[in-house]
């Protein structure tokens, strides 16, 4: 494994970049921005039309990998083949649904000399929506009341314990606010059809939502964190713009979560601040959010820290992030040649030649 951080060869997953983007493009941009970085960046993605595959100046090479539903064996086989031709030192998975597969194949990847910096299976379970309320009780963190629902019948009496309106959530993704039994039943069936059982019902708390991108050191401490307030939302409620804030209460809650779970690796902490100034933990996403590039923009480059930790290196202490750093997304039409699509669609890979441009002497 390479020991010079600036020459690391880093593979990054999830290059889908629609109006609800995966984090991969953001992670690649943060790594590309790391001071002195002259290593190699490799993109791993699932679909030949994932927009990040066609972004010039990001990944030196991109490869398709099997969908998580095909299981860890297929993923390992593909990663071995890629690694044999285009070696990498670390891989940074960025999608919830692929984490278990990567944990499963971690020993084999380690044999190849490939490192990762991920939470353990137990930590993933602790922060799951199903167990979040228990985590709150154990850690003293305020968490909205919640119930795990496996049948539609359970919804008929649930409002006695969790009054309307409440959220109906899928285990991995999706949240629908409902105001009545009819709406709850419709949301239940739609959620089951899309994400399967069980479904989580969570109390709604009124207030302002904040998000924190954070990295835990696996020993109860915090490698770094940047709290953000969304300033622009899409019609799906996803952040399209945001600004870094300096609310100490958000960082205190993040530290409490790290301490309670001894979290290792990246995560996104979703927090609701109520009108009385109370903080409530809504959700923990066990990977970088799609807005993580803002951490690099704010001078607190968390993907770069994680890449080094995954390689077994000790990153330099992160500088404090710059409060007031903003991000605003933009939708651009990228131009690609049909031959690029051909390479991705037929061979599942696109290796870009160096541009040939030399630095002026």
């Amino acid at each position: 494994m390479s020991r010079d951080a600036t020459t690391l060869r880093v593979a990054v997953t999830a290059l889908n970049a629609t109006d609800n983007p995966a984090p991969g493009v953001s992670v690649l941009r943060a790594l590309r921005d790391a001071p002195g970085f002259r290593g190699r960046l490799i993109g791993l993605s699932y679909d030949a039309l994932d927009a990040g595959l066609y972004a010039r100046g990001l990944a030196d090479a991109v490869y398709l990998v099997p969908y998580p539903s095909l299981g860890p064996a297929a993923l390992l086989e593909r990663l071995r083949a890629i690694h044999a031709r285009d070696p990498f030192d670390v891989v940074l998975p960025n999608v919830d649904s692929e984490l278990l597969s990567y944990l499963e194949i971690a020993p084999e990847l380690a044999e190849l000399g490939v490192g990762m910096y991920l939470p353990t299976r137990e930590q993933l379970e602790l922060r799951s929506k199903v167990h979040l309320e228990a985590l709150g009780e154990q850690s003293g963190i305020s968490v909205p009341r919640a119930a795990t629902v496996s049948t539609a019948q359970e919804l008929f009496k649930l409002h006695d314990r969790i009054p309307y309106p409440f959220f109906v959530k899928g285990t991995f993704y999706g949240a629908v606010l409902v105001h009545s039994l009819d709406e709850a039943l419709a949301a239940f069936h739609a959620t089951v059809a899309k994400w399967g059982l069980p479904v989580i019902v969570q109390q709604r708390i009124d207030g302002e939502e904040y998000d924190v991108v954070a990295v835990g050191d696996g020993e109860g401490g915090l490698v770094g964190a940047v709290p953000m307030k969304k300033t622009i939302l899409t019609d799906k409620g996803k952040g399209w713009g945001g600004v870094a804030v300096k609310d100490p209460g958000l960082l205190d809650m993040t530290r409490a979560f790290m301490e309670a779970t001894r979290w290792r690796g990246p995560c996104e902490v979703e927090v609701m601040k109520d009108r009385d100034g109370g903080y409530h933990l809504l959700e923990i996403n066990p990977r970088f959010p799609a807005w993580v590039y803002m951490s690099a923009g704010a001078g607190h480059n968390l993907p770069w820290a994680v890449a080094q930790l995954a390689a077994g290196l000790r990153p330099e202490r992160l500088e404090p992030y710059r409060v007031g750093t903003m991000f605003v997304r933009i939708a651009l039409d990228q131009i690609a040649d049909i031959s690029d699509f051909e390479k991705i669609a037929t061979a599942g890979e696109l290796v870009r030649e160096p541009s040939g441009e030399e630095e002026p002497s």
Partner: protein, 88 residues
């Protein structure tokens, strides 16, 4: 953190653009509001704040007091000071 320190932490530009680093909220202030905010950051004493404002504006005391009270109510409403905030 007390309310005056909280007000001192707000990022206020020359043009009257105000950024609250705690909530991420932004505001546009007119020149009168900028002057009142600057005065409030210097003192929580009502008489002292009004004296500062009198030096800046050639208007009746009653108008200044009305503007000051209205601005403080706005600060409370936007959560930039606590609900209990008032001048001594």
């Amino acid at each position: 953190m007390n309310d005056i320190d909280r007000l001192r932490d707000l990022a206020l530009s020359e043009t009257g653009f105000l950024f609250d680093p705690y909530s991420g909220a932004t505001f546009s202030l007119n020149p009168t509001a900028v002057t009142i905010l600057r005065a409030l950051r210097g003192s929580a004493d009502r008489v002292a704040v009004l004296e500062t404002l009198k030096r800046e504006f050639d208007v009746q005391s009653a108008d200044l007091e009305h503007d000051l009270d209205e601005f403080i109510a706005l600060l409370r409403r936007e959560g930039l000071v606590s609900r209990e905030f008032g001048l001594s």
